[in-house]
Subunit: 406 residues, 2 copies
């Protein structure tokens, strides 16, 4: 028997939400195995298990210790992965479930937000050699003290991608409740089309702009370690969206100028008045915000009358109060918050070699009389801040204007 | 700071059945710590958690793999021990929870019914030295492959006693829903009194005769390793029943002749007819039963007419069908089952030095016209099989006849 290609499959909490769904995941997993692959599966906790466990702790205290919370919530994935192994065995195939620690996932000491330091794959490889389907509890690892840690944001996605990298897997499949990544939000635009493939940078821009099929951190990890992702539905067999930088495998002959249109309604615009127009003022302002862990997105600076500068920028809505308090502490300075804005972005790796994309975007919006309040660009993204009331119209005209319909 | 005495406390599933009870257990634990002890706590899973988890697996299959079942059900104790640690921390004391594996409990490979091979106490001692209350998940350990195992019958009791032994604890407290061990079933006899102390052998005879406050296996372990037990209520501060062989600490001046009266309604009487009366016949019969894992209790053999032997014995009710099928396979032999019987026993370590106890027991029963169908004795126990309808009367007259009332 020759050495088989390893693939990693990841199923989220909804996909393993009850026993019937777990049985379906078992079937899906066996299908991949019967296609001649060595299969490693990463699962999240069933449905709302994690919230239920957190709720139990919150009945005791608002501030439980992070170490004990990791001990507590990690049981959720342990339950779903043992049940999946049982379901696979019931269908007549060998399978074994492993906790993060048993799977060799070593993390740092930061309970509830641990980072993977290293993965010792010996155990997984041994089980694959025995022709077993290996199920790994997502979202968790263990530190040097053999204490259980959890990975925090994007946990199970990160586990899957990190395992795929450590195991040199052919690719990593992320199963979700949609058919893949779309050119824009299908709930907003009828003509939204599923994308066949994307580069990591495009996926990063789309993920950060609100396409919630996979966590940003996992995409960054995939990019860094060149792990090919396949984002697809757990409810059907339709091919999903591939994410990779390997142009030989990429089915597109050439990168399109614009791949997708996204929007983010989770930001507010902050306008700061009364700053002296002298060097170091901006650095002081943003330094104070950074100290409070407030991430600043788009920034625009204008010199206004009397040598006083006005700076506008956007932040996450949840940071609004903290930002206001922080800025109000600066002498003679005041801040105004505008929650009535939205950020609309076009994303595309082809943009870099196509000048005039920005001009075209501004033109499309201007034609409809949609006022642009702020602009920011990256090599593969152009974002405009506009009034919230115009978001649906803006996304629709940009989507058709750049020829993205089905 | 001098080295403090270590004590081990064990709380069952009912004692940690919900968050309020967990908070009470936290209080109880802190009380022991404030009495100057180094405290290790062993907990079972909350209420019906284990049954709920088993139910999930049974939705998939009637015969799940034992390894995966251990992975699954061990999460129950992990949840309760982390919640207890959080509850203790909330009251301002240091605490840490450990899985069986983290606590150093090494077992053999027999999933779902593992035996403890060794306990590496380094981690627990390290945490105690930091003045932490250490919570250990009961009922579980890990094998040499770092796979999770469960201890099977009497699990959490066994964990507690084994830890007490390995840690050279001063004693091991088993918290339960009654005030201690009684001279007989308080639900049956009004004058039943709580016993101050018992020997291990007495406790073993009482436990095997149906007093369900602690599992047989844990008592055997305690006896073998001389671990002093204190069986008490988790709902009040009343001193419970001490179990030990240390006569200097035993508060009783002299062992009483009879300590308690118990009964077991879970047995049936089997009468086997048609056996040839020649050597080896009994060995063959009981050999066949042993092969099927059927435990035989009382045995009576009578030679009947025509050189055919008749043998009667008792077995557990749940083995009835299997026993009948096994015996019917023997040529010319037939078996009759009598479910209308009960075993009544008197237990007492003092019996050994008091001749005539058996005669007194038979006399008490005869006076009431209660017919004795079978008899068996051990050095510290005399059991009689009688008709089920007379059980309450028999227990009451024996209890008063041997002067056991309050």
């Amino acid at each position: 028997m020759g050495k088989k290609d390893i693939i990693v499959l990841k199923f989220g909490g909804t996909s393993v939400g009850d026993i019937n769904r777990i049985k379906k995941v078992a079937g899906r997993t066996i299908k991949s195995r019967n296609e001649g692959k060595s299969v490693v599966v990463v699962v999240s906790a069933m449905g709302d298990t994690t919230d239920r466990l957190i709720g139990l702790a919150e009945e005791i205290t608002k501030k439980p210790s992070r170490r004990e919370m990791d001990m507590l919530v990690s049981t959720g994935e342990q339950v779903s992965c043992s049940l999946l192994a049982i379901a696979i065995q019931e269908k007549g195939y060998e399978s074994i479930s492993l906790t993060g620690g048993q799977a060799g996932i070593l993390t740092d000491q930061f309970y509830s937000n641990a980072k993977i330091i290293n993965i010792k794959v010996d155990r997984i490889l041994k089980e694959l050699k025995r022709d077993r389907i290996v199920i790994v509890a997502g979202f968790q690892g263990s530190n040097l003290d053999s204490d259980i840690t959890t990975l925090g944001r994007g946990g199970s996605d990160t586990t899957a991608v990190a395992l795929a990298s450590a195991l040199k897997a052919e690719y990593c499949e992320i199963y979700t409740d949609v058919n893949g990544v779309y050119s824009t939000d299908p709930n907003m635009v009828d003509g939204a089309k599923k994308l066949e493939s994307l580069s990591y940078d495009e996926m990063l821009e789309l993920a950060s702009s609100g396409a919630k099929v996979i966590h940003l951190r996992a995409v960054e990890f995939a990019k860094k370690h060149n792990v090919i992702l396949h984002i697809r539905s757990s409810f059907n067999d339709i091919e999903g969206t591939w994410v990779m930088d390997d142009f030989k495998k990429d089915k597109r002959m050439e990168r399109p100028m614009v791949t997708g249109v996204t929007y983010d309604i989770g930001e507010v615009k902050v306008s700061v008045f009364g700053l002296e127009d002298k060097p170091g003022i901006a650095a002081d302002l943003f330094g104070r915000l950074a100290e409070k862990n407030i991430n600043v997105d788009l920034i625009v600076q204008n010199v206004s009358e009397k040598n006083l500068a006005a700076i506008s920028f956007t932040i996450k809505s949840e940071d609004m109060v903290l930002a206001k308090n922080t800025i109000d502490k600066i002498k003679n300075v005041s801040a105004e918050m505008d929650t009535n804005i939205v950020k609309v972005s076009i994303v595309g790796a082809g943009m870099q070699s196509h000048p005039g994309v920005a001009a075209k975007m501004f033109g499309i919006l201007a034609e409809r009389g949609i006022n642009i309040e702020m602009i920011s660009t990256s090599p593969i993204r152009i974002s405009c801040v506009i009034k919230k009331s115009r978001v649906k119209e803006a996304v629709r005209v940009l989507h058709s204007g750049f020829g993205l319909e089905k």
